[in-house]
Each structure stands twice: as C-alpha cells, then as structure tokens.
Amino acid sequence: MIGRAAHRALIAALFLFLLAPVVLVIPMSFSADAFLVWPPSGFSLRWYTAMWRETKLMEAARNSILLACLVCAATLVLAMPAALVLARGRFRGREALVALLTAPLLLPTIVLALALLILFVGYGLIGSWPGLLLAHLLVALPYGIRVLMTAVSTLPPAVEEAASSLGAAPWRVFRRITLPLMLPGVAATAAIVFLVSFDEVVISLFVVGPELTTLPVAMFRYVESRTDPLVAAVSALLVLLTLSIVIVLERAVGLGRALGK
C-alpha cells in the first residue's frame, strides 16, 4: 500500500515538475502589473488586448503559422514516398539510409544552425522564405519520415495485394487503399511537424532576418528588451493552440493509434 502511494506521489511530483512552468504562465498572463512579478498584485486582461497592438509580434505569428503550414505540406509530400520505400523496401543500405535521414534529430541543433548560417549567407537565403522553409524542413523531415514509417509498417500488405489483384494499378492502390488507411498516421505527422516548426527557435535564430522573423524568435527578442507580462499572454495562447491540436488529433484518430502504438 505504501509502495503504491509513494508511486502515485512520485508521478504527481513528476507531472508538477513538467507542467509547473506551463501552468505558471497562465495566471501570469492575466497579471495587472506592468512587470513580470510573482505573484501578480491584481488580475486583468490588459496584456491580452495589448498584444494585438504589438505589430512585430503579430507579423511574426502570421509568419510562423504560414511557415508551419508550408513545412507541413512539404514534409508530407517528401516524407510519404520516402517512408513507403524505407518501410517496405528490402534493399542494400536501407538501414544506413534510415539512420542518415533521421540523423538531424541527434545532431546538436546549434551545430546545424551554424552550418546553415554559413551555407545560407553564401546563397543569400538568410531572412528569406526559401531559407526558413529549407531550415525547418531539415528538422521536420526526420520526424515526418519516422512517424509515417510507423504508419506504413502497421498496414497489412495483403490488403494492397488484394487491391492490385482486383485490377488497381500501383497509383490507384496508393490513392484508394494505402493513403486512406494511413490517414491517422498522416494526421499525426501533420500535427507533429506543424508543432516542430512552430516551436523551432534555435535554428530560426540564426536564419531569420530583419524583414522576416518567426514568433518564437520575436518573443525572444521581446523579452530581451521588455519585462512586461505581454509574452505570458502570448505564451498562454500558444499553450492553448498546442493543446487544441493534440486534443483534436486525439479525438479524431486517437494519438496512440496515430503514432502506431
């Protein structure tokens, strides 16, 4: 009995540790103070109204959303065929290719960021849409390929064989059978990749420019010069956005199923 209680207490402590900073942001965002102080002396919605007037942040937010959508679309288009081949194919060097394609997950992001900076400067890609898209694809693709590979490997191959024996050419097998059966995995990939891109800060810091920046970078810059609770309000909205994506995904397809567990 004591063991079980201790177990529960441990889990509770872990949750508290993980979630406390996130939870803290929410009362903070309703602060009536002009500075970030804990506890707030009073509560108000002033920072929720103030943030919409912060044009730099708002523009960065629009950029981030658009970028995340583009990264999402590009990742699906690129990762889908890759995942099909990598999960199904039996060819020499398959394992090495999987390792190579998922390597960016293991590399220190700062190293990637520096490398991209050096590379992008030469091609004038710093602070440009193509540059940001490429940089985010680099981090998003490994996730996309991983999750889609899991989705592919849970498909029963006989179903596709049956479709092809019934007269469906490979493209129609994919469109009518493989893709619909992979939809949960595709949805999960889209959500994860969207969040990875939306949340990406290290690489973005290096490749954004004065004309084009992303929300996390803009927030980082904001707190460098200002110390009011406005960022807490933005953060609270981000928590809400992330949470709703996860909940929608969970409701729509079941997160466990989407990740192939």
């Binding site: 029963p156 006989a158 179903v159 064989e161 049956a162 479709a163 092809s164 024996s165 019934l166 007269g167 469906a168 050419a169 490979p170 129609r172 097998v173 009518r176 059978i177 619909p180 059966l181």
Partner: protein, 352 residues
C-alpha cells in the same frame, strides 16, 4: 462461363543462394478444373500461388493463361481473383464497396456495378450485409465477402490461399461445400492452396502434393490416397501404419512375418505402409495378407474402435467401425488381423 486453361512451365523461385523455394514446377490445369496444391508449410505451395497471381516475381519459368504468357505482367493486369488467408478486406470500405472495387477499377458504369455487386453478394448469401464494415462481420462472413470480391470481376483464374484455415471446424465444412458449389456452378479454373489433406481430398478435382518446391505427386484424390507415389505422400495424405521391413524373393519380411507385396519389389530395406482402417479383425483369404498378433492397447470411442496389435516386432494400428453386439477385444488377446494385398503400400526405404 467457359473456364480458362492455366499452364505452369518450369516455374522457379529462388531466394539468394538458398535451395529454390519452388523448383522448376510444371503443371497443366484444365479449363474449369479445381486443383489443390497440398503440402506442409514451407513446401512452396503459397509461393507458387503468388507467382501465378503475379504477387511475387518468378525467378524462372512461365505462367500461361489460355496460351498467353502472363509471366511478366503485374498483378493488376493478370485478371486473377485472389482470396487471401486473412481475407485482406478493405477495412475502410463497406461490404458493397469491397465487392465493387474491382469493377470500379475496370471502369464499369455505376448502375452496372450495383447490379453485379448485388448478384455477387447473393451468390455468397450476404446481400443483407452490404452496408456493414468488414470488422462488423464474423470470420465466415468476411471470407464470403473476400470470395464475392474475387469472383465478381469474373477472373480467368481463381486463386485461393488457405481460405479456410482461419475458420472454426464447423464453419470450415460449410465453406468447403459452398466454395465447391460456386466453383462448379461458375466453372472457373481454380487453384486452391492448403495444408489440410482432408480439405484437398474433399474439394479438388486433382491434387498436386508438394514437397521441397516440387510436385511429389499429381493425381485425383482417389489416386493420391490409394496409390501414393512415395512414402512422403502416403504419410502426408491420410494416416498410415509405417513399418520397417525387408524385401527378399519378391516378398516382404517384417521381423519373423512374411507377407505379400502388391507388385514386384526390388530386394532391400523397405517401408511398408497400411492404412489403419483397411486392416480388419478377420482371417484373410486369397489376395489378403494375414497376421497373428496380440492386442496391446484398445481405444474405444463409440463409433470407432482403435487397437494396437503387436506382430513380428511391429505395432499395427487397426481402426474399425464398431459393430453391434460385438464386444471390443481385450488387451492381451491373441487376434488375427488381415488386409488386402492391394492395400499394402511398399516403398524403398530412404537410406540416410
């Protein structure tokens, strides 16, 4: 529908440097014929079926459908209906959608598809379940959907890959009869892969017993059962007493017993095989082998009486239907058993 002739010519499948999974297999299937590929797991029967359907590439040989070489064609251009062991229904489509799929792929008109789907579902008695999803159906119903889906495209050849092995015993017998009826009615050339010898005997016009990628024997169920070509076939199809013996002077010695062989045999070590239910507790006569021995064990299961009789150092399993008013023999009793010489199967013993 007139059936289609299917010819396999030296069909071979090799994986790397291993012994071939299918080794130069040749088989001519008559139009409308129901052929069973029967063998233990790993004998190459499923590999053969998959090569016929184009699901795996042949390493060598040809597949001819009505004289046309289809070996190089992908599965979607072979016009063969395949029923898979696990049914492989499309989980995201309802029953009607599953059956309609092949017709849609053929670019058939909507109205025509609906009529054909209805007819196909009626054929397998599932018309009332057209709107169900596969996971809402029982195993037997799923199997019938799979069958309807394969048949509705009116394929030139029907390929059945262990279609009954996931069903329970009672359902299996029903489906056995049902598949057989439909096949006869449509006259469709059919290849049926199974490891179950009773299924093969009951359903097929001819059976190809396979071992190690080759056909060990091709024949009617009667041929295969009564005149097995090898010890392997005799052992795999039906049950047999398997007794080590020695051939000399045209007769067979088992320990101190001497019995007659049905045909001249070369001298040397042999395996003698006799079906248990062909041995009776009678004195023989002309054309019979007769042996005296003692009953070692009696198993009485109501309709069948099984006795182990030791004679000449060997054990003979005897199985007979029980007779009214005849008590089973007691263990230790001296009995006379006999079987027809023609039921004595003799194979040269494979020396290791």
């Amino acid at each position: 529908m007139a059936g289609t002739a299917l010819v396999l010519e030296g069909l071979t499948k090799r994986y790397g440097t291993l012994a071939p999974a299918v080794d130069a297999l040749s088989l001519t299937v008559q139009p409308g014929e129901f052929i069973g590929l029967l063998g233990p797991s790993g004998c190459g029967k499923t590999t053969t079926l998959r090569m016929i359907g184009g699901l795996i590439e042949a390493s060598g040989g040809r597949v001819l459908v009505d004289g046309r070489d289809v070996t190089a064609l992908p599965p979607h251009r072979r016009d063969m209906g395949i029923v898979f062991q696990n049914y492989a229904l499309f989980p995201h489509m309802d029953v009607a959608g599953n059956v309609a799929f092949g017709l849609e792929m053929r670019g058939m008109k909507r109205g025509e598809i609906a009529a054909k789907v209805e007819a196909a579902l009626d054929l397998v008695r599932l018309g009332h379940l057209a709107k169900r999803r596969p996971k809402e159906l029982s195993g037997g119903q799923q199997q019938r959907v799979a069958l309807a889906r394969a048949l509705v495209i009116e394929p030139s050849v029907l390929l059945l890959d262990e279609p009954l092995s996931n069903l329970d015993a009672k359902l299996r017998e029903e489906m056995r009869a049902e598949i057989q009826d439909i096949q006869r009615r449509l006259g469709i050339t059919t290849i049926f892969v199974t490891h179950d010898q009773a299924e093969a005997l009951a359903m097929c016009d001819r059976i190809a017993v396979m071992a190690q990628g080759r056909i060990a024997q091709l024949g009617t169920p009667h041929d295969i059962y009564e005149h097995p070509a090898s010890e392997f076939v005799a052992d795999f199809v039906g049950r047999s007493n398997r007794i080590a013996g020695h051939a000399a002077d045209g007769r067979l010695n088992i320990g101190d017993l001497t019995i007659d062989a049905p045909a001249p045999v070369a001298p040397g070590p042999v395996t003698v095989m006799i079906r248990p239910h062909r041995i009776a507790f009678t004195a023989g006569g002309a054309g019979w082998n007769e042996v005296r021995g003692s009953v070692r064990r009696v198993t009485y299961v109501g309709d069948v009486l099984a006795c182990e009789v030791t004679a000449g150092g060997a054990v003979f399993l005897v199985e007979q239907p029980t007779q009214p008013g005849v008590p089973p023999p007691e263990a230790g009793a001296e009995v006379c058993i006999a079987w027809r010489v023609a039921d004595t199967l003799v194979f040269p013993r494979e020396t290791a």
